[in-house]
Amino acid sequence: MSHRRQSKRRPRSSGAALPTRTALLFVAPATALFAVLVLYPLATALSYSFFSWRGIVRDSWAGFDNYVALFTQLPYRNDLPRAFWHNLMLFAGAMVFQNTVGLGLAQLLHRLPRFKRLFQTIYTMPYLVSPLVIGYLWSLLLSPLFGSVNAMFKAVGLDSWALPWLGDPKTAIWAIVFINSWQWIGFPVLLYGAAMGGITDDLEEAAALDGASAWQRFTRITFPLLTPAIGTVTVLTFIGAMEAFAIPYAIGGSQGNPAKATDVLSLLFYRTAFQSGSTNSNGISSAVAMLLFLFIFGVAVVMTRLMRRWERRLT
């Protein structure tokens, strides 16, 4: 929050320039580490996808063959669209949950005289726990035999809800959508709360004096002023949903059990790279990685651009 104000002071720093040579020394360690372990591998991964491989030996130039194979060969032809669809479900589910329940909680917390920090802490806790732990925890909670969830449903008379949620291909992905949204929601609540804190009280007070109801004040003042925050959260939710790996892995394993009903793109990538047994696994899996990479990065950049344009129009 605070850097927005701080960055305006930037011109003041012009007085204390660091000599270029010293500055180069200062950035050298970070640059070396980042270049070797982030930039170089990313660039290489792209090149991998244009070659055919024999095990770990790079064979011949393959052009777009690996990409074509993804859309024409089995199992990729079937797995890719299904996994992609599941990622989209994760994104959509999280969006719906955080912009209804999450937004509502943030609004209720805003100006809460007491316990605000406590509630924020509690809501954010699941978000900080490892997604892998969360996935395994819910697989235990939802277990048909010992699981607390079904025991609870039975205890309150909802026997028909006591289903093998994770064992049935029809419900398993919905359970994961729910678990993912449940874990993630603390983050939007915090961010929406921070954005609400930035809205001056005068506006709302003036509207209240003019007789606007709480609902009108929310829809006409708070919500429009929240669009930048909602935009930021949407981009991050998108990235998180597309990269989802640990929760589906904990629940459905690397095969996306049952019957690939919980498969997602990162699992497909992992399986293709490390478990497919195909000699060209490096080529094909790198093609999956690049498509996913371009999609995540491309959409994130476009969304950020659109957001900025929209914000400018609002102000």
Binding site: R12, A16, V38, S130, Y136, L140, M152, S285, F293
Partner: protein
């Protein structure tokens, strides 16, 4: 801000609290059940899934800690997390200071490249990372894992720290320079104390994802004695499938350091989370 007239709001306060507590229960219940069930026996859970741990038993912890090697995993996790977070914080501090104070297009471009790392799905480059570490003999070594995590931490750490360095007044540096202090001295004795709160945020906030990560060790660590907790859990869930009490204890062990750090450093976590807002 909190001293607002809330006459219209006051009489609705009770149902507001009811809703907030209801969601709090929903958010925390699974984690509570995890802790409670870790203190019960599997037999007890089978008989009464909703029962309370009375009398509580620590048997499952003993089993997870010793028989299931959580002692090794825990030590590895602590070592990897602490070392990599410190390494990335130190290199990011240096770089961030240069970004904040150097005036040249080159550094602006370099900073932009670093910042792009905030959005890049770097994990998709795991194959080249694997081959690279393999060529250096660093597969299945904690050193390799530490280097990867340190590199991954650079974008976020530089982002936060550069913003703080920029907001620090330059007068102090000028005074120190006039007194004859060199850039290194100024950095160590003048600037570092100023950005201490930001350093705390960066350390706490990077601790969480590194502690939680399981993707990199899943692929980069082949040797069971080098596993970190998350990847240890995956094999543990295969071996102890029906031993529910031990599974719950393992999950709790993996979570305790996070809860501890969260309770001690809520402020830093909230700052780190909301920092994304100004991106």
């Amino acid at each position: 801000m909190s001293k607002q007239p809330r006459s219209r709001w006051g009489h609705r306060r009770s149902w507001v609290y009811v809703l907030l507590w209801a969601y709090a229960a929903f958010a925390i219940a699974p984690l509570l059940v995890m802790v409670l069930n870790s203190l019960r026996t599997t037999r007890d859970m089978a008989l009464d899934p909703l029962g309370l741990p009375w009398p509580p038993t620590g048997q499952s912890y003993l089993k997870a800690w010793i028989t299931a090697s959580f002692d090794t995993y825990f030590v590895n996790s602590i070592f990897v997390t602490v070392t990599s977070v410190l390494l990335s914080t130190v290199v990011s501090l240096l770089a961030a200071y240069a970004f904040a104070r150097a005036k040249s297009r080159f550094f602006a471009a370099l900073e932009a490249i670093f910042m792009s790392g905030l959005m890049l799905p770097v994990y998709l480059a795991i194959l080249p990372i694997f081959f690279l570490l393999d060529s250096m003999g660093l597969v299945s070594s904690l050193t390799g894992l530490i280097a990867v995590y340190a590199a991954l931490g650079i974008p976020f750490s530089t982002f936060i720290l550069a913003a703080f360095f920029r907001s620090a007044p330059v007068d102090l540096e000028e005074a120190a320079r006039l007194d004859g202090a060199g850039p290194v001295k100024i950095f160590l004795y003048v600037m570092l104390p100023l950005v201490r709160p930001a350093v705390a945020t960066v350390i706490v906030f990077r601790f969480v994802p590194v502690w939680n990560d399981f993707f990199y060790p899943l692929i980069l660590i082949r040797d069971a004695s080098k596993r970190t907790i998350p990847v240890g859990i995956t094999s543990f869930f295969g071996e102890y499938q029906t031993d529910y009490a031990t599974l719950f204890a393992g999950l709790t062990i993996a979570t305790i350091p996070l809860i501890a750090i969260f309770l001690v450093a809520t402020k830093q976590i909230v700052t780190g989370l909301t920092a994304g807002m100004s991106k």
